[in-house]
Amino acid sequence: MDKPEFVYVTYIATTPEKLWKALLDGEITRQYWGYRNVSDNWKVGSTWRHERAYDDSGMVALVGKVVEFSPPRRLVLTWGVPADAANESKHSRVTFDIEPLSDTVRLTITHDQLEPGSEMERSIAEGWPKVLSNLKTLLETGHTLPKFEFFKQ
C-alpha cells in the first residue's frame, strides 16, 4: 500500500455542516480558493470540475470523479488535469475528513496517488496551506485574507 504524499490538518471554529457546504458550493469555494468546485450532481460516481473563478475565463483546471460522499464527514474525489480526463490511472486522490470536536472542527486533507516529481505534486505542496488558511479565515470571520491575487501565480 502506497503512503499518502501529503496530509494537512486545520482546526476551524465552525460546524461540520457549514464546512461541508464550503467544500462543495462553487460560490463559496470561489471566495477562499479562487476556483469554483462544480458538479451536476454531487454523488458517488459523478464527475466534478474545478473552474477558474479569479477571472472570467471559466477555464477548467481540474477534473475528476466523486469516490465517496458521506455528508458531513467524508468526501473523496479523484483529481486530474483536463488533458488526462479519460486517463483515470493518472488521477490523484483527495480525501477530506471532517471531525467535530467540542467547539471546533478538525479538517484533514489527505492527498495520495500523486505522480512523483509531477507538476501537480509541486503545485499542491504550495497550494493546500494557502487554501486551508483562507478557508479557515472565511468560515471564522466571514471574509477572506487579502484578495486572492496569489491564486494567479
Partner: protein, 131 residues
C-alpha cells in the same frame, strides 16, 4: 492555531531538524526518523509529541505503522499575519535572487533541491514580471 505552541515548538534545533527531515521525505515512521538523527528514541518521541501538539506534524495510521507528516498550515497562518499582499511578490523575488546567487557561489554545498540548476532561471522569470 495556538501561536505560542508553534513558536515554542520551533524554538529548538532538534525539532526544526525533524521538520527538515519530513520536508525532505514526508510520511516517515518513528523508526525511520530515529535512524537519521543523533538522538534517543525517547527524545525523538518527545519532540514529535510537541510538534504534533502545535499541529506542525500530523500522524496517520497505516496498518501497524504510524506515519508522520509535516503540516505547514500553522506556518502559513503566521506568514499571512505579517506579510501583506503587496510585499509578497517583492519578498518572493528577493528570496529567489538570494537563492539563485547563493546556489551559484556555493555549487555542491546546497541542498539537492536548490542545486537543480533551476534557481537561476527562476530569478529571471521573477524579474520578467517586475521589469
Amino acid at each position: 492555531m495556538d501561536a505560542d505552541k508553534v513558536f515554542k515548538a520551533l524554538a529548538d534545533p532538534s525539532r526544526r531538524q525533524l521538520l527538515d527531515w519530513l520536508h525532505g521525505d514526508n510520511g516517515q515512521t518513528l523508526g525511520e526518523l530515529c535512524e537519521d538523527l543523533d538522538m534517543t528514541r525517547q527524545a525523538v518521541t518527545k519532540h514529535l509529541a510537541l510538534l504534533e501538539d502545535a499541529n506542525l506534524v500530523v500522524t496517520i495510521r497505516r496498518g501497524r505503522e504510524k506515519l508522520h507528516y509535516l503540516n505547514p498550515v500553522p506556518l502559513h497562518e503566521i506568514h499571512e499575519r505579517w506579510i501583506g499582499k503587496y510585499e509578497r511578490r517583492r519578498l518572493q523575488a528577493l528570496h529567489e535572487l538570494k537563492k539563485g546567487l547563493e546556489a551559484k557561489r556555493g555549487e555542491g554545498r546546497q541542498p539537492k533541491e536548490e542545486r537543480d540548476g533551476q534557481a537561476g532561471i527562476r530569478v529571471r522569470h521573477v524579474y520578467s514580471h517586475h521589469a
